[in-house]
Amino acid sequence: MIEAFDLHLQMRGRVLLAGISLAVRPGELVAVLGANGAGKSTLVRVLSGDLIPSAGQVTVAGKPLSDWHRLDLARQRAVLSQGARLDFGFTAFEVALMGRSPHVRTVETARDREIARLALRETGTEHLAERPYPTLSGGERQRVQFARVLAQIWEAPADGERFLLLDEPTAALDPAHQHLTLQIARRFATAGTAVLAVLHDLNLAAQYADRLVVLERGRLVAEGSPQEILDAALLRRVFGLDALVIPHPHLACPLVVPLGSATTASRND
């Protein structure tokens, strides 16, 4: 379980996070929603240990982040950050294989190479394996990075849980690959991984997440299952979006039908 207790973060006089507490349990996919600048990426960076909160604490499997040995943590927890840049000509396969590095003692084993290959297959990028990363398109790069992150926690450790933090994993992807990505995240969750994903697409979140966490200006303003919390009032207030929320005709989740921006009409009312 990943838990956050009353996280606060101020940087250069700005309040980025204000009193956020949440938990991501094993087997659960939690989606973080919020408008631009609401603090979603900041939250992921604090949860992953990249940023130290001004106050509050993050624990992974009950242990504060600072108490973890970094290699032990890396063997169980993977993080997909936003906009990871790589200008050097590693092949897609080599990038995926780097996900195995916390498990490697001296040289990658045949099993490590097999896992990297499987992770590429999972994300639909196996045909790109020998292509140099800088020659890939934005969406292809994102899927290869996703494969690297999956390869890192491909196998559950004997005595521990797995954790997956995804910051906008679908940002550069076409619709089919957005769904593929979340289906994979869903499968990892079903296999016992605690998954947290920052998403922009409300319907993706509604369809795949067990729980939604909604941020607004660094505060947690709503939390619950998609059925519980997704409604027109929330979307208008948090996203400035006029939308219908109707039951999905085929799936057991709500369907958001955006009508337009609410900002010109009645924002801040």
Binding site: V79, G89, T91, E94, P132, P134
Partner: protein
């Protein structure tokens, strides 16, 4: 040699023979380098001279003069050229990995300049300062140490100047290099006013780079630093690979990012400092060699760092051979040769980088 010199970062088909080719070329250049000069030897004679102290007698005959020239002059020079070339190329590759930028060359960004400034300061001040400090600064041991300190200070300075949020912008990096090089150049110029005539000659040597000062004592003074960094830098190959993904990403893969960065910075400063203290500023080796090898065999530091050592050694031996023979009996500063070869390459690389950054 088949270099796939395309603008793209596509590595050519894997070259399984690359390593043997590099080793063979290096050995050949060592033998030719030792045999070439006013007193010349055939490759067989070179081998015979080198084998004799080991108690092995080879069928090639040589005379006492040839033996003396090889053992007293050529051998230390060739060893120094090879070591310095290997160290510069390896340090360049590591530094480019650290900055995540293929343009991070110790010469361009000012690290060599900082090391040279500290060396010149040690020479000039060593003669001026009274007492034990002056004596120590004037001693041969002080040079590599001073160059290391100067190099370290400049790497840290450029590191601070050129990085924003874990990224190095090409423009900022090069501008920081211009600023640092201008400053060290000016300060070296200032020190020349305080220098004697003999010191002046050696100061020229610092700024152009030369292997003419290669003697056994000089080699003995810097070899531990050169060999040390050459052995230790490749042990950082795996963390350097993950650092190319980004500092946060490397951290999430279990790499101790801060320790790795510090180790690379210290080893690069050590390597460049020792190299500069022995040979002055020899530019572009550190830029050209890693880039060619990345084109040929990809960016994996586990392959790149040892290959860079081999090719860097070969390149500098070749450049020294040109420097010694082109205008014989006069000798060109080797820095001018590497600069003449490296500048067009740098401009071509810069075009690719600036064009690619809008991606």
């Amino acid at each position: 040699m088949k270099w796939a010199l395309s603008r793209s970062t596509v590595p050519a088909a894997p070259l399984p023979l690359l390593r043997p080719l590099l080793v063979g070329t290096l050995v050949g250049l060592v033998v030719v380098g030792i045999g070439t000069g006013a007193v010349s030897l055939s490759p067989g004679q070179v081998l015979a001279v080198l084998a004799e102290p080991l108690g092995i007698v080879l069928p090639w005959q040589f005379d006492a003069q040839q033996q003396a020239v090889v053992l007293a002059i050529r051998l230390p020079r060739v060893l120094l050229a090879g070591l310095v070339g290997a160290v510069l190329a390896t340090a360049g590759a590591a530094m480019q990995g650290l900055f995540r930028n293929p343009l991070a060359d110790p010469g361009l960004v000012g690290v060599s300049g900082g090391a040279a400034l500290a060396s010149v300061a040690a020479i000039v001040l060593g003669a001026r300062l009274p007492g034990e400090i002056g004596d120590w600064l004037g001693s041969p041991v002080a040079l590599p140490v001073a160059a290391f300190v100067g190099g370290l200070a400049t790497v840290v300075l450029v590191w601070r100047l050129a990085r924003r949020d874990g990224q190095t912008e090409v423009a900022t990096l090069l501008l920081a290099g211009i600023a640092v090089n201008a400053l060290t150049g000016a300060l070296i110029g200032l020190l020349t006013f305080a220098a004697t005539d003999a010191q002046l000659r050696s100061i020229t040597f610092w700024s152009l780079g030369s292997l003419s000062g290669a003697t056994w004592p000089v080699l003995a003074g810097v070899a531990p630093f050169l060999i040390g960094s050459l052995v230790l830098l490749p042990t950082l190959a795996r963390p350097l690979n993950t650092l190319l993904l980004g500092e946060a990403e490397a951290g999430h893969l279990g790499v101790d990012v801060e320790t790795t960065k510090r180790a690379v910075i210290v080893l690069v400063a050590l390597a460049v400092g020792a190299a500069v203290s022995a040979t002055g500023i020899i530019g572009f080796v550190a830029l050209v060699v890693p880039h060619l090898l990345r084109l040929a065999a990809g960016p994996d530091h586990r392959r790149l760092l040892p290959d860079a050592a081999l090719l860097g050694a070969g390149l500098l031996l070749g450049a020294d051979l040109i420097a010694r023979t082109l205008a014989a009996p006069a000798e060109l500063p080797i820095g001018t040769i590497t600069a003449a070869l490296g500048t067009p390459f740098f401009l071509w690389l810069l075009r690719g980088q600036m064009g690619g950054s809008s991606r």
